[in-house]
Structures are given as C-alpha cells and as structure tokens.
C-alpha cells in the first residue's frame, strides 16, 4: 500500500516569498490533515479536511496560509508571504473517515527554511 506522498522534501526561500506544498494521501482516505512541526516540538494541526470540505481551520493563519483539497484527493498548502517563523516541517496525514479514533498515516514532510 502506497503511503502519503509529499513534495518537495526540502525548500529554502527568502522571507516575503511564497511557497506551496503538495500532498497525495493514501487512496480512499477521506480525511486529510496538515500539521506544522517546529524543531523540537510536537506537530500542530493547521487544517483538517473531510473529502474536499474544511472541517477545522481554526489554527491556520489565514492572512498568509491557504489550503485546498481538489476533488477530495490531493491537497496543497500555500504560504504567502512567508515569515522567518514559518520555518518548520510541514506534515500531511490522512485517515479513514466515518468514525473517529482512527490512526493517521503521515507523510515524510516538507522541511521549509525561510531566510
């Protein structure tokens, strides 16, 4: 079974530039999450999708971050403009829907460095 795919693996940009990350979840997984993991900390949920609808985006800094999930499959997360404090690993995860308390499968993440 193919896992959660993310690209790129690494990205270095200057502050005020824009960047986009891509995620392809496990086939059939209706729930998709984007997490931000700052070095030395646990993952922090940014946004949760159920199919192509947003379930929760309360912790997404909407003045600079946006996310979409086209056709309920792939998802992109964009930052525009980036700030130094956005340097982190951005993790995408997916899970079966229909019930809670299910395991999430994580991708390897995109490591973003803002200079």
């Amino acid at each position: 079974e193919a896992g959660v795919a993310q690209s790129p693996r690494y990205k270095i940009i200057e502050k005020r530039q824009s960047v986009a990350f891509w995620c392809n979840p496990i086939s059939g997984h209706a729930t998709l999450y984007w997490y931000q993991q700052i070095l030395g900390q646990g993952p922090k949920l940014l946004i949760q999708f159920q199919n192509n609808g947003v379930v929760d985006d309360s912790q997404l800094p909407k003045d600079r971050f946006s996310a979409e999930r086209l056709k309920g499959v792939d998802s992109t997360l964009k930052i525009q403009p980036a700030k130094l404090e956005d340097s982190a690993v951005y993790l995408c995860a997916s899970s079966w829907s229909g019930t809670v308390n299910t395991e999430a499968f994580f991708g390897q993440g995109t490591r973003l460095t803002v200079v």
Partner: protein
C-alpha cells in the same frame, strides 16, 4: 491546553524498561501515541479510548487514567528500534483533532 510529557529524554541500554507519561489539563476522549525517528514521518503506535478500549499494532502497552487525564506508555525489554521521539496526541473533543505534546526523546544503546 498542550499535554505535558515526561520525561523529556530517556537513555536506555537494550533490554531495559522505560515509562513515558502524558498529562492533560482537559478531560479527554482518547490519547494517541506516535513515534517519530529523526527525519522521518510519525508512525502510529496506539490509541487509548475513554472506557478502556485500546487499538494498536505493536507489542507496546499503555494505560489511560480518564479521571486524571493521564496516559502512560510502557516500553519493556527495549530494543534498538525503539529509539526515537514519542509524542502523545490528546483528543478532548472526540474529533481526532489531536493536540500533540512536546515529545519524549528515547535513545536505546547496545
């Protein structure tokens, strides 16, 4: 609201035991445990549910004290492969919207 994990770091010899604790200030529906090796994706270990049900793959045991909003992960007869950072994710709303702790770094040496 972020759960507190203790200890922050543990160093073990192969075969030794360890306990990792996770404590929340909020009432919880479930606690999820993940392990993350350096530079890799977090990997699911287990879920402990209110009421006593547990779901997991590996031969790792854990407990969940609902009244104290605490969970403990028990690593017995540790192996080199147990090395990594362990995160608990707490779910106070029964939505799988997890709040992760700051992690416990475990290193197992031969």
């Amino acid at each position: 609201q972020q759960p507190v994990q203790s200890p922050q770091a543990v160093i073990l010899r192969e075969g030794e035991d360890a306990v990792i604790n996770c404590s929340s200030s909020k009432a919880l529906y479930s606690v999820h445990w993940y392990r993350q090796k350096h530079g890799e994706a977090p990997v699911f270990l287990m879920i402990l549910l209110k009421g006593g049900e547990q779901k997991g793959h590996e031969k790792i045991s854990a407990s969940f004290n609902e009244k104290k909003q605490q969970s403990s992960l028990y690593l017995t007869a540790s192996q080199l492969s147990y090395s990594g950072t362990y995160f608990c994710g707490t779910d106070p709303y029964n939505t799988d919207k997890l709040i992760f702790g700051t992690g416990t770094r475990l290193q197992v040496f031969p």
